[in-house]
Amino acid sequence: MIHGLSRRRFLFVGATAAGALLVGWRGATAQQKLPYLGARDEPQALGAFVRIESNGDIIIGARATEIGQGVKTSLPMLIAEELDVDWNRVRVEQLPYGYVDTDKGPSNRYGGQGAGGSDNIPSAWKELREAGAAARWLLVQAAAQRWNVDAAQLRTDSGAVIAPDSRRLSYGELAAEAAALDPPKDPVPLKSPERFSIIGKPTRTVDAREIVTGEAQYGIDSYLTDTLYAVMLRCPLLDGSIGTLDDKEARKVAGVRDVVVVEGPKPDAPFDGALATGVAVIADTTWAALKGREKLKVEWKPGPWTSESSSALAARANELLDKNENAVPVRNDGDFAKARKQAAVRLDARYEMPFLAHATMEPPGATISVEKDKVVLIASLQSPGSASQLISTLTGIPRKDIEIRLTRSGGGFGRRLKNDFVAEAVLIAKAVGKPIKLIWTRDDDLQHDFFRPFGVHAMSAALDKKKKLTGWSHRCAATPRNYRDRGMTEGKVPLYIGCVEPDDFPAGLVANLEKSFFAVASGMPRGWWRGPIHTFHAFAVQSFIDEIAVATKQDAVQLRLDLLGPPRHLKYEGSDQPGFDTGRLAGVLQLAADSIGWKDKRSDGHGVGIACHFTFGGYAAHAFEVSVDKNELIIHRAVCAVDVGRVVNPLGVEAQMMGATIDGISTALNLAITLKDGQVQQHNFPDYPLMRMAQAPQSVEVHIVESTDEPSGAGEMGIPSAAPALANAIYAATTVRVRKLPILPELKRML
């Protein structure tokens, strides 16, 4: 048996910045550059991710942060597949953040642990299967030694090594011996896909039982010994500061221990600490801290943005587009101006996108203990590596002495890629000299976020006499996503990143195409929001295509298919996949069209709309059937077709598409963050109304394309095409074209 202390320990394998895998042993000073690792100081640990107990239980470590995208289930499936075990015998444990110092610099014993860009499955696809295969190899070697036979004669099946004469040894019986062996020197061959018995099988969430019994631990559920509770009152004015602070009454509240000022960044300084200046109330209970906060009297000193409002931003964006001067070029093919001049048909439309908040169900927060020479952080995170770096910067404590325990996160959607809440917790904990549990309320969360950018897309098209698209112009005026990020603001990253994608559809498909960007100045902090760039521009692109089809009396599906043309790969920067495959996008479009009955005539006031988009290596299309009756929008059917390459967990992909479709509809219909006098106007769910069950379609018909292509992730591709498909369906039902999100207030105004 393994002792309690070592039970939770795993060996480490890490990726360097260059991506090479490092392996080594805990406490070892020298790192070896090997693709796999074995175990020496952990009797029954077979590599970084696998532990086998004598009773045959298989424990697999889950390395990535689970924010609802299902990686705590799907990544261990990759390991289990190559380990060749019965999934029902597998217990999955969340790994902590695996920072390790190496002689080549900072590394991570587990590889990538963050959640962003739908990258977990693609980056783990080879890496974690290899980890599973290496562990299996050790077990086979151990059996070969025990039986004194050639390892090549042995096979494995469901957690046992089997000899040609049918003798069997379970992994549990072999684990101790296997753990003492040296790791494989050469890569172990991986299974051929037709032998997969776990990958591709519908698999339920590994934590399901803990979730439904209330035992699952989220960041907000963590407590350390002697923890004090903290809440903050942050300056509601963008880049504002504290004029006067009177905390006398707050300090009188029973249970309040301290009141501490937390400095935000100076206007125009990078957002790499707290998000805004504020006052923290520290108390014996969350409730006392909240009551204390009520009693704070703060006069805020406005920052430079007091005149900022949503209407002023929209006016400014449109003014920039009208003037059309000093554009930041994004892409230029052929000669759009000439094509426009020669066109038989010219079309123009502008689409407006609001700021959006992430509104994760579990608000931001952090539990932290900062001692002289070590830190323990427990929080719901998407980027533990950045959190570790940030803590080290703020405390001067080396990263190896910063322990970060990962929990499930109550949603992420990009909010937790930022660690401002961790910075606040560090600063408060340092100030009071005690472990701190920082809670954000919903008001805090909606008022202070890294919002999805605001912007206006100006689209122009030129068509010849045969209604063929000869020119396409996409000009975007937006508050750049690239704003006050250290490392991004120094000219390394183009200003348009996060708002327009140079290679997005229909780039490479229309001879004369121009894309350009205009920066709208704003004090709003901006960040990545699920499918960030793509949700931001797909609404304009896919609505405009529909408008072109309507205006020129073409079939909206056929028009897209004609544009996509024969299946081929086009260059797509920023995608790890072999570019953009026009055939796969056409495939999901056709699948969605067929599923909704695109060609069927509808005479009951129902309208059908469709849209498709390529996001982070995955292809998705949405089709909706809607009606609008007495100003009430009803979604009768929702179809989502998706191609994410080879599917690791069909149940998970279906869930992601269903959820993303509903998230997409919810956001498109109702959600906007607006500004007045340099202040966010939304405070809680009543004015940021996420969709409830009564508004949601009864079901989302998800169609997953069977594919042997390399897998992409699935967390984000189900979002971008939802909003335009919905607006297109509303047009089909009502001939009302909604060009400004959110849809419902616009529809009400226009009907």
Partner: protein, 180 residues
């Protein structure tokens, strides 16, 4: 303030998990949570939510909005779904509170089983509130229609509503078939 659970605050004779004796009932007003009596000693205005979470570490009841808008903190008060963020400890005294941790008997509640079988959870954060709201619904209406289910007001940010719907129907069927 540390709260007084019977096992630490009462004389040894009463320090057990058995149902409260008559003597206890006479002694003090109590808060019954998942069948056990508690004697909160802190601020009586504290919302039940924070009492459950911070004092008792029953963290299955989640904080989502603090204004009764999202339902993540739904618990059963005398069998009826209520928002723990809006109910003070004082108001909950002498009532029976059931949290997600107390929903299962010797086996999981049919709703919990159905939730697992339909693989409802994504991030999972709202699901204990969803299950408690569904428990209240099924108690009132053993055979809910789609419209009845759709009236459940709890928010899910991940968009699991279609699977919640399936899970409630599955649990309703289990209950009608006598599965306990």
């Amino acid at each position: 303030m540390p709260d007084k659970h019977p096992s630490t605050s009462r004389p040894p004779a009463a320090a057990s998990t058995v149902a409260p004796t008559e003597r206890v009932e006479i002694r003090a007003s109590q808060l019954r949570i998942n069948g056990r009596p508690y004697y909160p000693a802190g601020d009586p205005d504290m919302p039940l939510l924070w009492y459950l979470r911070d004092e008792l570490r029953l963290t299955g009841t989640k904080f989502g909005c603090g204004v009764g808008a999202c339902g993540a903190c739904t618990v059963l008060i005398d069998g009826k779904a209520q928002r723990a963020c809006l109910m003070s400890v004082k108001a909950a005294m002498d009532h029976d509170v059931t949290t997600i941790e107390g929903l299962a008997g010797s086996e999981l509640h049919p709703l919990q089983r159905a939730w697992i079988e339909e693989d409802v959870a994504q991030c999972g954060y709202c699901q204990s509130g969803q299950i408690m709201a569904a428990a209240d619904l099924l108690k009132r209406n053993p055979n809910p229609s789609d419209d009845d289910i759709a009236r459940l007001p709890n928010l899910c940010r991940c968009g699991t509503y279609p699977r919640i719907r399936l899970a409630i129907k599955r649990a309703a069927q289990m209950l009608r078939e006598g599965v306990k």
